[in-house]
Every structure is written in structure tokens, then in C-alpha cells.
């Protein structure tokens, strides 16, 4: 622990002197007839994030505003929102980077709304749990992979922070809730790639389905929205490749692996 007596200049300030921004925030309380947008004005500094702004709105302007947040570094996945019509983690989205004087903030789409910016994650996990996956490995890789060049190899599914941004961005999930969706299919591919106690064949068969891997229409919006480099669309395509291979193998009389 480093003691620094003087707290100094706050790089995440939401007070003057900063640049003024208008925040159009989605508001809804249970029992309301319809949601509406409410506008708040705040000054922001260079590093002020959308999450800083929203918590400042709650602390100073309207204590009834509810939103989800926890870790503040895009590791927990709770503060996923739609910011200016795109999925974003509020905690790592700097306001000035949005290059717009008006910041529209909405909850993620295609999920049940709880209130204001809060959505219910039950639907997300109902899909996710269909695959069944531990979220942390005992050790995330061999130490020698920890070199700067090896850092890329850590792009593994356990990077998934379960934020639901992929479900919000997916055009198919937008129109049909039966589709298993990107996060769970990416989890399925991780389990096939590295089973660690799960049965890869069962998962291949489960997701080889009209509502599984074959439902994806390659819009890649999930991979664009993903804040954790999971690349769900890429995972779905690799899952399909394996499923085609398995089907060919069984058709040609070979046994499934």
C-alpha cells in the first residue's frame, strides 16, 4: 500500500471545470405505463467514464436511479449498457471518446427490464447454464505464456464476463428468444475445445440444433459488442466446423470421437 497524502487532481471528475455533456437516461419504474428518457447535465474530465457519470447522477442529482455495477474495470460484467445505440461496458467507456454532446444511455436490449438501467440476468443464465461451465481455471496457463507475445493466447472463453452484451447486440436474439444465443454457444465451444470434466460430445449434440449453432446468421454483432475478446461468433463458426466434421464422420461409418 502506498500512502499518498495529497489526493490531487481527480481524473474521473464529474464537476466543473470539465466539458459539459447532456445524458439522456432511460427511466422506468415497475408500474409505470411506459419508459421515458430523462436528461441530466454533467461536466466530465478526460478519463470520466459513463459509469462515473451515472453514479454521479445517482449520488448528486437523483438517488432513485438504479443501475448495475460492481468492479469498475470490465471484469464483472454488470454495467453493460446501450450507450448511443451501441453495446458498451459503462465502466471502460470514456464519455469524451463518444464524441457526442448528448449521451443516450439505455439498458441492454432483448432482456427483461427490472427498472431504469437494470435488466434481469435470469434469462442470460438460463441459456448459459444449459452448457454448464466453471468460470475460472485453477491456473490460467503455463507461466511461459505470460510473456508479452504470449498474452494473446489467453484469449479463452473464461474471459467471458457474463455481461449479456452479445445477447443485446444479436439480431436473431432480438427477434426470437428460442435461439440459444452467442454467450452460451461460445461457452459450448470452450467446453468442446477444453472439456475439463464436461462431455464434449453431449455438448456438440446439444448445440447441433436449429436453435443452436445453426441459428446464427453471421452478423458478427456479438463479437463486435463483446468487451472481453471472447469472439462468440468466431466460436460459433468453429463449433459448426466440428459439428459438420462429426456428422461426416458418422455418415461415413466412422464412430463419433
Amino acid at each position: 500500500m502506498t500512502d499518498v497524502m495529497d489526493p490531487g487532481f481527480d481524473t474521473h471528475s464529474t464537476e466543473a471545470p470539465g466539458r459539459p455533456f447532456r445524458f439522456r437516461v432511460f427511466r422506468y419504474k415497475q408500474g409505470d405505463r411506459a419508459p421515458h428518457f430523462e436528461e441530466f447535465s454533467l461536466h466530465v474530465a478526460e478519463d470520466t467514464t459513463v459509469l462515473d457519470a451515472l453514479t454521479a447522477i445517482r449520488n448528486r442529482l437523483d438517488p432513485t436511479l438504479v443501475l448495475r455495477h460492481s468492479c469498475f474495470h470490465a471484469s464483472c460484467g454488470t454495467c453493460g449498457l446501450r450507450v448511443n445505440d451501441r453495446e458498451a461496458m459503462a465502466c471502460v467507456t470514456k464519455v469524451v471518446d463518444l464524441k457526442s454532446p448528448v449521451i443516450k444511455v439505455e439498458p441492454i436490449a432483448n432482456q427483461a427490464l427490472v427498472a431504469d438501467l437494470v435488466t434481469d440476468m435470469v434469462d442470460f443464465y438460463a441459456r448459459f447454464n444449459a452448457i454448464g461451465r466453471a468460470f475460472v481455471q485453477a491456473v490460467a496457463g503455463p507461466p511461459d505464456a505470460a510473456t508479452p507475445e504470449g498474452v494473446g493466447h489467453y484469449s479463452r472463453f473464461e474471459n467471458c464476463i457474463e455481461c449479456g452484451l452479445c445477447l443485446s447486440a444479436c439480431p436473431i436474439v432480438a427477434s426470437d428468444p428460442r435461439y440459444l444465443g452467442p454467450a452460451a454457444l461460445a461457452a459450448a465451444w470452450r467446453a468442446v475445445e477444453e472439456p475439463r470434466g464436461l462431455d464434449p460430445n453431449a455438448i456438440l449434440q446439444l448445440t447441433d440444433d436449429e436453435q443452436g449453432s445453426w441459428r446464427c446468421h453471421a452478423a458478427f454483432e456479438c463479437s463486435e459488442a463483446c468487451p472481453a475478446n471472447v469472439d462468440p461468433a468466431g466460436a460459433i463458426m468453429l463449433l459448426r466446423q466440428r459439428q459438420v466434421g462429426e456428422q461426416l464422420r458418422s455418415m461415413l461409418g466412422g464412430r463419433r470421437r
Binding site: N110, A112, V114, D123, F220, L238
Partner: protein, 153 residues
């Protein structure tokens, strides 16, 4: 977790579900963006544009296929019916639609190559570059075809 770990579980699964429902809303919809969102250009990235382009051109070509087959029935009504149609079809107005058709075929067909490769897990990480390259190729072919059509017309 196996059930034996769950002691004093008041109502088994029902208990859990009702607890989950605690957080659910009184009747708020899931705010599903719906089919209409396919037509919403806001926030869309390249892959999303490719998805929409593929759907629109695919449906357009299918409608054209029905029209085309219907028109071909003129052949069954004998030489004069068909030859009258041919003279109309060679008007500049119809030729413009031929260019639109070729645009649709090129966009759908060339992007189809990308979708097929990607769908088999091939060159997935190059999908954007592939889309751009195929569309540039398509544009070139379209220009050549358009010049040829109007030159003939």
C-alpha cells in the same frame, strides 16, 4: 450442485424460481428489439450490414425468381406473346432493373461465398476484410455488366 448440499431448501425448485421472480418485473416486456431492428441502421457494424444486405438481396432475388417464372409462361402462349414481351424488356426502363438484379445477385452470391467459408469455420477472423474485398470485386463486375447492358440496349 447436487441436491444433498441443499439443506433446509424450503420448496425445492419452486422456492428457487419464486426467488428468481422476486427480481422480475410486474409485467415489463423483455424489451426485445424485434424484427424491426433488422431495419435499424443505428449502431450497426460491418457484419451487421452484411447480414441485412444478404437478407434483403436474398428476398429480392426470390421475388424476382417468381416474376421471372411467371413471365416465362408467355413462352407457352406462343411466339407472338413472347416476342412482344422481348421488345418491351429491351426498353431502358427494364434494363435498369436488370442492373438492379445483377447487383442483388452479386451482393448475395459473393457475400454467400463469405458466409459459407465462415460458416464452416474458415477464415473467420478475416471476415470483414473478406466482405470488403468481395464487395469491391462485385462492384467491378457490376460496372462491367452495366456498361455491357446499356451498350447492347
Amino acid at each position: 450442485m447436487s441436491e444433498r448440499l441443499v439443506e433446509q431448501s424450503p420448496a425445492g425448485r419452486e422456492g428457487v424460481d419464486s426467488a428468481a421472480v422476486q427480481r422480475r418485473t410486474d409485467g415489463a416486456s423483455p424489451r426485445r428489439r424485434g424484427v424491426a431492428s433488422w431495419g435499424d441502421p443505428r449502431g450497426r457494424r460491418l457484419g451487421g450490414w452484411a447480414f441485412v444486405l444478404h437478407r434483403v438481396t436474398g428476398l429480392g432475388i426470390l421475388i424476382y425468381l417468381f416474376l421471372h417464372l411467371a413471365v416465362l409462361s408467355l413462352l407457352a402462349r406462343g411466339p407472338s406473346a413472347w416476342d412482344d414481351f422481348v421488345s418491351i424488356a429491351l426498353s431502358p426502363f427494364f434494363l435498369f432493373f436488370d442492373v438492379v438484379l445483377i447487383f442483388g445477385l452479386l451482393a448475395h452470391g459473393l457475400n454467400g461465398i463469405r458466409v459459407t467459408l465462415v460458416g464452416f469455420g474458415l477464415v473467420v477472423d478475416r471476415q470483414k476484410a473478406m466482405f470488403v474485398a468481395l464487395m469491391v470485386l462485385g462492384a467491378i463486375i457490376l460496372i462491367v455488366a452495366a456498361l455491357r447492358i446499356f451498350e447492347v440496349g
